[in-house]
Symmetry: D2
Subunit: 333 residues, 4 copies
């Protein structure tokens, strides 16, 4: 299903080399000021050109097809598209015979019975995330007083991320990264344990972003190695603030007044200039595969804003949902 969200709903569509990729948003409150320029900053964070990123240049000005009137959202479905123009199909080797390891060539072929658009990774391309970033821009406008801060903690285990990316790029290699998203200013009380915990919803959206291998909150995997006595995290304020936020912002699936703190493991890109050995499905023999095209040495550099958008989209939905949590009429008086 291509939709996430219960009130603020986001649907993506598009193939990398099709006419356009895009996104439809529903449940956007009416009256929100919005213009194509508003998307520029976050799309720039996603754009090619930075060290360690591919040099495919795409016009990043979206066209808004619906849901906007005189500069404000109408409250009706908002569809926004990005035309695909800068495509060089010849960069990609024949994929039917030799599906690329680590890509969705094989899985997409099974899932879509061989009818998927293979060009530029089709619907699996990172290109499709342009729509998610756009959705994130709108979502953030629905989160006044909430700040999302995203940073790459390390690449290949090195805290000097740019250096690690450069080394990988020069070697024709790629490197994974650890990304952190911190969300400040969320109210307590969002989410519910079975089955809409805030961590679960966010993790669900994050795993949609290509390249994600793990998601953790607060202490994360370190909690598996802790004792309860050391894991202790007393509440220190009536707003729910705790001493060290070991939970990363939620208890029982519900936000607890601390920053929401999530870390995401992004794998190294599978397309590298160095040859890889893999199966030729036609001959049945192992073969050398070189993918000479455009490669990201550190995809996390571009993916960071996408991961942030995924979080924002989920949180905007929770904020709207929370309006339905209020006590019953006879209590509210």
């Amino acid at each position: 299903m291509n939709t996430t969200g219960r009130i603020f709903q986001v649907s993506l569509f598009g193939e990398s080399h099709g006419p356009a990729v895009g996104v439809t948003l529903d449940g956007v409150p009416p009256g929100l000021a919005l213009a194509p320029e508003d998307f520029e900053a976050d799309l720039a964070r996603r754009r090619s050109g930075a060290a360690g990123t591919t040099d495919r240049r795409e016009p990043d000005r979206p066209e808004i097809l619906s849901g906007l009137y005189r500069g404000r959202t109408t409250g009706t479905p908002l569809c926004l598209i990005f035309r695909n123009t800068d495509t060089r199909s010849e960069d990609y080797a024949p994929l039917a015979s030799v599906p690329r390891p680590g890509h969705a060539d094989f899985t997409g072929s099974v899932r879509y019975r061989g009818f998927q658009d293979p060009r530029g990774s089709g619907h699996f391309s990172g290109r499709i995330t342009a729509g998610l970033v756009a959705a994130g821009v709108v979502a953030k406008k629905l989160l006044p007083g909430v700040a999302l801060e995203t940073r790459i903690l390390e690449a290949g285990g090195d805290t000097d991320v740019q250096a690690a990316a450069r080394r990988a790029s020069e070697a024709g290699d790629s490197v994974g990264a650890l990304v952190e998203v911190r969300v400040r200013g969320l109210p307590a009380g969002l989410g519910e344990p079975f089955f809409d915990p805030v961590e679960g919803r966010i993790a669900g959206a994050l795993f949609s972003v290509p390249g994600v291998r793990g998601v953790e909150f607060g202490d994360g995997f370190a909690a598996a190695r802790m004792l309860g006595s050391g894991h202790n995290d007393p509440i220190v304020g009536k707003d729910g603030r705790t001493s060290r936020n070991g939970a990363g912002g939620a208890n029982g699936g519900i936000t607890n007044g601390n920053d929401l703190l999530v870390r995401i493991a992004v794998k190294p890109a599978s397309s590298i200039r160095m040859p890889q050995r893999t199966l030729d499905f036609t001959t049945g023999e192992m073969t050398d595969l070189s993918v000479p095209g455009r490669h990201d040495a550190c995809i996390a550099l571009r993916a960071a804003v996408v991961l942030e958008a995924a979080c924002a989209v989920c949180l905007a939905d929770f904020i709207l949902l929370a309006r339905t949590y209020d006590a019953a009429p006879d209590i509210e008086g």
Copy 2:
């Protein structure tokens, strides 16, 4: 929302000290042989008594209220309940004044405006997971040829899990753990990138299980430290098998023919016999909180089958969904 799944749908209800906890399943294919005894083995894995677990004894024989006739599922909604009988309310300190750190006392109070049932953690109790385990039993019957293998890799960083649990228990402490679920025999082609990747769905369900702090697939967080050249995972068989299954069973959100391999970080239980310092909301002062009741030293020992059930429930839904993926009529002839 309390429902997970699109075809095979699971809804949980219940409070720890209410009349009953239970689960409703919908989309269960008709004709499945089912009986209350079928739940015994997995419920036993969840039951108290093992070293390091609480000694609350609950009758684990579910009562099936609907959806079953002459020992076979009818295909209509199947509701199954567990009566709550072994409750000792006096085990729990007054929670309104001093919400327990690491629990959902505070967050539940915000979310439910103070009207939540606080006894035995109410709807946040691990007791509610009995229904999820039951759902997992049914789900596994819908996964012929698929085997789920769950094991605790380490507790508190120690591969001798039982020893670590015992030490914690004796100290009145608790210990976290790392749990692995390996799923063999899944077909390739389940899931889709935006927004129903198999990793995202499973992670979403796993984060509903109390105590989960992180979820990773395949290389997981180690991938963040890898280079592409070392991360290389060539396809070695026409069934999609790869050399080392670094992706943990999926590419582009779609199962790839390898085992699905997920690891879950479970935090140490927050209720321990050792006193904890936390805020008294009434006085506004920090106070010592002791929770003398029944505590799990290593909740992962009981949670393992719950985590396995969460995976099974998602996969059963994907298996049924996959029946709708087939090519269009004019292709199928």
Copy 3:
């Protein structure tokens, strides 16, 4: 799918001769005063005994299994069951060979591959609507200031409904009826055109009630015979009130400030004492079928409160949804 609603969600389960029928509600705001007695009045309206209804007596006191604490809803899923006790299986002729015309014997057998519970019509029995009525009781508590008025306009074309029912009963026959539900006090602005119009949602729920053959709003089918000039319905108040409410309460799928006015056509019960000729699937020959058991001469007498409950359940969801419609943060200030 057995769930209706997006925020206030209702799921039914149960077979007529199974252990119990019931309902689970989710999205119920916390703090609502609720007790088993609250269901008595509407369940009585549904109960047997009135002229023209069957004389199956069921205890109508529900047992609330979850979601209630100290007399108020907790905000967590609320499950409520009705035990089945007064069943006389032998009333029903063998259905596998001779599926009853007008019933779901044949369709249920196809849908559920022959594994449905056939006793007392199983999951198709009007018994299952007890849960819907209960859901309606809760829903109405979420509609302060809103009044639902339900009446049977005619039975068999006769405005003296009781007389028509009596005549049918004495003849061993049954009679259809036209039921009207009028809803006063709804705010304008509920619903949206594509794809959640208030009429569509309500009609969807109404067609779930056994025996419904048609649903119309306002002028209804009479509008098909009107001219625009005669259909004219000027707005006469700033609250949206119109002159004659020809639309029945909504325009463009959105409530318009007038009473919501819906009429439902209920067919005559298909089980009658008079023999009917139908196919014997075993012999392949037409045969006489007598269903000697308990029959409703006018099912609308019992169904009226069920139809009302269906409306209430939809409207409660719309009322909660409407909380998410408010203008964007920067407008609200």
Copy 4:
């Protein structure tokens, strides 16, 4: 919510005078042959020009933005748009002061807090149904062996529909109509009673089409006036065929092997050349309102294919859902 369907999902977007209207389809099986020309016939049925219809001419060639490769569906989301070009804004009187009776000017203003696009009725315009018709074209390709036959039974009570439409047009008036959709060739076993009956789903979609006031199946509202003995409809074939199909194709919410037979009441268009008296919200006085623009004398002439598309879209979803109904693995062998 702007999406209908559980597997085959349809979402509409667009305003009448915005850049484009469109539709996104998800769950379309891969490999379906599809081209822009395929939409021509049904879009022509919807187009202006026929007697009694408006003379707004819109290019009806859709642009397919995604989900298609080499003439076949990819199985990924399929987005299709119609550019809006032939708009004459000056046709519409100021609506803020004098909302038109029978339109969604007032209700849209409440629902969208005054931020809706008012031009050409914005998101409430029949223009938006172009996307629904396109969805219907695809849906019908997923219904091999199924034929949908739509006809206008009467307009203004007159079986000579064209004559009635012409009379109304000449008088500057409009006329309502009764539309029938008959679906041949559906398998039995689609749908389920609580809460996805086939009649309920279809009615829900039909009420999204502007102008619909009532929906009935089979005997419809006539059933309210029948006796059981006369309503008798014996099964006459092992495929479930009945003698007179009084149920209109379903029992217990499940298709029964007969034609699905639904009739829809369409109101007369509210915009007519004759002046109407209604409230001026600015002055608080009743005023004469003339809407001189382009009017349909009989909107059913254009709406018929839209109603048919609504049915097709629902049925395509049911056909795909039915693949998940099969008996459990241990039964299937």
